[in-house]
């Protein structure tokens, strides 16, 4: 039971963090290497709002999400839009952002252990097992955000326009879709979701300046496994990834616990380099 709930909590956080990355990947055709760093910045911002300004952790999360959404708008304007055809430059800017973010986080954290105040206290008994409320709340909020994102993608005009832009940019422009505006909204939503995931994970596992790297690795694996253009695939691979990351550390000490899931993903990608749920299979 605990394994199940841990799988679900980790899985849904991975999915939330990955959604924005996948949106940007599908729509702009470029990868946002700084996505993990932004996830970390969201978590740190939330922590400092709680610790320094004494803000309630929920309000701090909302503020962090809004600020990071603003960062998303800015990045779309200064990084993605002008350099869309210049992948090298986007990578250089991303790596610069990661370095700056991590260095600042390092200076702030030092070797202190910092944790965002818990998003739920106490235990609930479900089917004979005690489960911390924090996990239930994390899972619940994550699920609501995820369903909201799925609703937007599948049932709204914005979602339809996102699909159109990701499938054919020229075709989309000729239908009168304002590509820049759609891209900006998507960057804002995607990066805000990463910030929310950062806040929850910062409460769950604590803060560290390299938490973004760990998440970046998960995000990349997840999106590659799912395949380009697949939203539903991310839901499945995210859950699988959460499961692998829950189960292996239980049986293998130290780094082996995190290395083995990565090895499994590498093997899966060797078998199916185009991913499991991409467009090629949907047709």
């Amino acid at each position: 039971m605990n394994i199940l709930i841990n799988t679900l909590v980790l899985g849904i956080m991975y999915i939330l963090a990955s959604l924005g990355f996948a949106f940007i990947f599908n729509m702009l055709g470029t990868i946002n290497l700084a996505h993990g760093a932004l996830y970390m910045v969201g978590a740190y911002l939330c922590y400092y709002l709680c610790a320094m300004a004494g803000v309630n952790q929920w309000i701090a999360m909302v503020i962090a999400a809004i600020v990071l959404a603003g960062v998303g708008l800015l990045l779309e304007k200064v990084m993605f839009r002008p350099f869309l055809t210049n992948f090298d430059r986007i990578v250089m800017i991303s790596v610069g952002l990661i370095t700056i973010g991590q260095t600042i986080a390092n200076i702030l954290t030092g070797n202190k252990a910092m944790v965002i105040p818990s998003y739920g206290s106490g235990l609930t008994k479900i089917a004979g097992t005690s489960i911390s409320n924090e996990r239930l709340v994390t899972f619940g909020v994550g699920l609501v955000l995820l369903l909201a994102a799925l609703y937007i993608v599948n049932y709204t005009a914005l979602g339809r326009q996102m699909e159109a832009v990701s499938q054919d940019r020229l075709g989309a422009a000729l239908q009168g879709i304002n590509i820049n505006r759609v891209s900006a909204i998507v960057c804002a939503i995607g990066i805000a979701l990463a910030a929310v995931a950062g806040c929850f994970m910062g409460a769950y596992l604590g803060l560290s300046s390299n938490m973004g790297d760990t998440m970046n690795l998960r995000i990349l694996m997840l999106v590659m496994l799912a395949g380009a253009g697949s939203m539903n695939g991310i839901l499945i691979t995210g859950t699988v990834m959460g499961f692998l990351d829950t189960i292996f550390p239980l049986y293998f000490a130290g780094n082996a616990g995190s290395a083995i899931p990565i090895a499994i993903v590498v093997v899966l990608l060797l078998i199916k380099p185009e991913g499991f749920f991409g467009h090629e299979l949907k047709m």
Binding site: A157, R160, Q161, E163, A164, Q167, D168, L170, G171, A172, A173, L174, Q175, G176, I177, N178, G229, H279, K282, M283
Partner: protein, 239 residues
């Protein structure tokens, strides 16, 4: 208001240092069908893409209904009433026929009008109604071209631009497309700018014709006049 729905004056487009369009001027009268013919690299598609602000204009002006739209972004041009079914169709292959059509009406708010135009395109191309839930990318070339034209019509354009609708299609299907183009023009009064390499389709459909060669207009006139023009004959019929 002017009697020309579209007027392109002295358009020039450069890609880096190479000239794609040297100097092109053309007019489309209200309710008319005008065709632009020319071989590969003559600048036909570039003219349309520059008009739609998809590619940058180096010089020149574009008037639509007497209004200067030279520097408008693409979405505003669509909203004002120009729709382009581009070369290579550029459909959304993993979306259904229905969603492709709805996306064509992105800039419109009039629900009733959208529903009416949906009915109109189904009457025009009945096959699309049967394939409503099918993914666009899984249809045949001819059906995809019909969908591309239908999607452009969903914007309720005053000027419909078609870029090489005959590309890759069987002669029978091309004849069919030509008939539909005339039908759209007749029943809706939509002005049409048809860019074609297939002179058979172009001459069979249009009233007025421009012939392009390496970024310049080399001949223009009524289709009958152009058909017998020496320059065009040499370029296209090997005369």
């Amino acid at each position: 208001m002017s009697e020309n729905i579209l007027e392109i004056k002295n358009l020039k487009v450069m890609f880096g240092k190479s000239i794609a369009i040297h100097d092109i001027s053309l007019k489309v009268p209200k309710g008319g069908i005008v065709t632009v013919i020319g071989s590969n690299g003559a600048g036909k598609s570039t003219t349309l893409n520059a008009m739609m602000s998809i590619v940058k204009k180096t010089a020149g002006t574009v008037f639509f209904n007497g209004e200067d739209i030279t520097n408008e972004p693409t979405q505003n041009i669509v909203q004002k009433g120009i729709a382009l079914a581009p070369e290579g169709r550029h459909l959304f292959p993993y979306l259904t026929v229905q969603k492709n059509l709805i996306l064509g009406a992105t800039q419109r708010k009039d629900k009733d009008g959208i529903a009416r135009d949906m009915e109109f395109v189904f009457e025009l191309f009945p096959i699309l109604k049967d394939r409503l839930k099918q993914k666009a990318g899984t249809m045949s070339g001819g059906q995809q071209q019909m969908l591309a034209i239908a999607r452009a019509l969903m914007a309720d354009p005053k000027l419909l631009c078609l870029d090489e609708p005959s590309l890759g299609l069987a002669p029978v299907v091309i004849d069919d497309i030509g008939e539909k183009i005339r039908e759209i023009n007749k029943t809706r009064g939509t002005s049409i700018l048809l860019v074609e390499q297939n002179v058979h389709l172009a001459f069979g459909t249009a009233q007025y014709c421009y012939a392009l060669q390496v970024g310049n207009v080399v001949a223009e006139g009524t289709t009958e006049a152009i058909r017998s023009d020496d320059v065009v004959k040499r370029a296209y019929f090997g005369g």
